[in-house]
Each structure stands twice: as C-alpha cells, then as structure tokens.
Symmetry: C2
C-alpha cells in the first residue's frame, strides 16, 4: 500500500533537516519503505482538507490506505512496529526503546522548543536578553542528565533504535546554538546519527525539495 | 509479577492529582492491575539509586520484574499494550489512539508546561506580567484546535482510550487557570475523564499519600 507523507512546500529552515518530516523520512529509510511526499503551503495547512488529516494544522501526516496518522512520534512508532530495524525483538528492550522516544519528545524537546520560541517568536521583546540565560540553563540541565546516562555508549540502550532516531532528531535542533559542543559525548552521538546512510538519504530528499535538485544516487 | 511505581513523598500540588504518577495509577486502575508505590523525596530523586531508574531524576518510574521504565507516556503505553481496556483491537484505531497520546504529550502539553514555568519559575521576574498573555495565547491556540476536532464527541476517537487518558491528564493542569472554561466541550471532556471510576480511585490513592488517610472503599 502506498505511503504518503506531507511536508512543507517552503520550510522555515530552508532544508536543514529540522522540519519534522525528516524524522519520518529517516524512519522509512531505515526500514527500506518507499514513500511519496505531498507538499503543503502554510496557507493550506490551516484549510479544512489538511485539518481533517492533522487537527493542529502541522506537518507531517502519514497516509497508508485507510489509515491517517499525525504526530511524528506516533508515525515513527507505527513504522517501527510494522517493519524490522527500529525496535529490538526482546519485549523489555522494546519497551525501553519506546521509552526513549517519549523521553525525547516529552522531556528533552519541550525545553528546546522553549528556547526556539524565545529566540524566534520573542526575539524582539524587551525581556528576551535577560530571560534567555534562564531558558538556556533549562536546556543544559536536560543535556547534562542525558550526557551522564549516555556515557561512552554509542546509543542510548544497546543497538540503534527508534528511541535514538527521535533523540538525535530532537538534539539536532540545537546545532546552531553551540550548546551540543558543551557535551562532547552528545555531539558525537548526534554525529553518529547523522552519519547513518538512512539519515543521509532522508536529509538529501528533504533538501532536494528546496534546491530543486533530485537526491543524489 | 509485582508492579512498583514511584511517586513524590511530598507533592508540590498537595495531592490535586497533577503529579504524573496519577496518570500511571489511572492506567493501572482502568485495566485492573494492582500496584505498589514507593515514595521518594526530592533529594532522593537526584541520588544515583533513583537516577539509575530515571535518568532525568523525576517520578514516576515503573518496575516489573527485570523491566524498568520511566516516562509516563511509555509506561501508560506499556500498560495499555499488555492489558485489555485502553486500546482498541482494530489495528488502525489502535494507531490513532496512540497518536492522541503523542499529541497530548508533544503538541498540547509543551504549551501548558510553558505557562506553568512562566507562573511558577518566572512569576517574580519583571517581564512576566507583559509576557504572560503571549504564553496564554499559545495555549489557547492549541485548545481551540483540539476543541474543533473533539466537537460534540465524548472521546477523541471512538471509545475511551489511552489517548484520552493522556489528553485529559494534560488538560487537568489547566484547571486552576480558568482557560478550560473558554472551551465548554473541552471542560466537559475533562469532567467525563474525572468521573471515571478508575480515575477516582487513582486520584484518591495519590491524595491519601498526603492526607494520611487510606483511599475510601
């Protein structure tokens, strides 16, 4: 059955891989599932046709026959559960990998989103200069805890899993901030994620939307 | 196998059900699984013994034989997958219910957490009075979208599911703000969740920790 996802017609990041369709593309590339992409404009995302697929008017969405999903976490979990390669076979290890998905999305990403909001939506406000260090410290707190847990392991719990895919994707948002460099093992962890062939294919495919060039290879 | 969860020895909310162990207690009550509770102090949460269970030094954790989980979303999903009552049998409906879990935790809760942070951690800052309306508007934006999608349905997608359990739990954080009252169908939705016998049992059990009285019944 054909899988169709949605992505930005024009991305605020210009194709640096930060739009959330990259996470879904990466998961599909890891498991070797082909997919089609429908681009939507910022205007169309708020129209009834798209809101029927995604009640919060965002991308990506995931369509496969009668099934319509939204929320990157749910889509990646769906892909991971129905294909080999993103979750361990052992039931307990599987539950732990899923735990890291939720940790990425509900414990780590909210502080990073708050930093993005402070810079992008409140960058011109009179309080931002004084407030920003507080927000950055909340991010540092999470990075410090994550860095301690990761230690010198390659991935968060055994082999690479959907949990790592999501955590690396969340941490990638910090690249421009320089914060990752304060935690060398996390910077290396993110680099390991980016070096995966499936990530490269996903990145190239989302970039090609904006450069107009087809993905290499 | 005995299930043991952790909860605050002393909760900042004094037992109003907002500590995240309530979400796990609720899930366990819905599926009829008995559980034990180990209380941890704020100090102990930052000690190595607890950090081994929860790398971010929070509650709840979930222990069942060799399995140790953290993250409320992961714990509730684990309970829902291994017991009847919180996820539909149909595969597509199941994926959609899980989508609402992620939507609650990654799309709705971050704006609500930002509001809590603005009030609790930045309440004494000089910018908070001017900034708060911006933060509140971001919460309203999500509530408006959720209200439109819920419409006059009882639950988000067919029968009550783990998706509703998580969304109601997230929205409960807004009770004191008065914002829910602006969206009568969401206020009714939360009230329906709170009226469930399993929620009442979970609420009573977490409250009893602070009142010292055993749960009624």
């Amino acid at each position: 059955m054909t899988i169709t996802i949605t992505a930005f017609e024009w991305s605020p990041d210009g194709g640096k891989g930060l739009a959330r369709d990259t996470r879904v593309r990466w998961a599909l590339e890891e498991v070797g599932q082909p997919y089609e992409v429908r681009l939507v404009s910022f205007g169309a995302m708020k129209e009834p046709a798209h809101l029927a697929l995604h009640p919060f008017g965002q991308i990506p969405t995931y369509e496969e026959g009668d099934l319509v999903l939204f929320e990157t976490g749910a889509i990646v979990l769906h892909i991971a559960e129905r294909n080999a390669g993103l979750l361990p076979d052992d039931a307990n290890a599987r539950a732990r990998a899923i735990t890291w998905m939720f940790a990425a999305l509900n414990t780590v990403e909210p502080t990073i989103l708050e930093l993005a909001t402070a810079k992008l939506l409140e960058g011109d406000k009179p309080w931002t200069r004084e407030r920003l260090p507080l927000v950055v410290d909340r991010v540092r707190n999470r990075l410090q805890q994550l860095s301690v847990r990761l230690g010198d392991a390659d991935w968060l719990d055994g082999a690479f899993s959907a949990g790592d895919l999501m955590m690396v994707s969340v941490l990638l948002r910090l690249k421009a901030s320089g914060l990752l460099g304060e935690y060398p093992n996390l910077a290396d962890y993110v680099a390991r994620g980016e070096a995966r062939p499936a990530y490269r294919r996903a990145f190239d495919a989302q970039l090609a939307v904006y450069t107009g060039k087809p993905p290499a290879g």
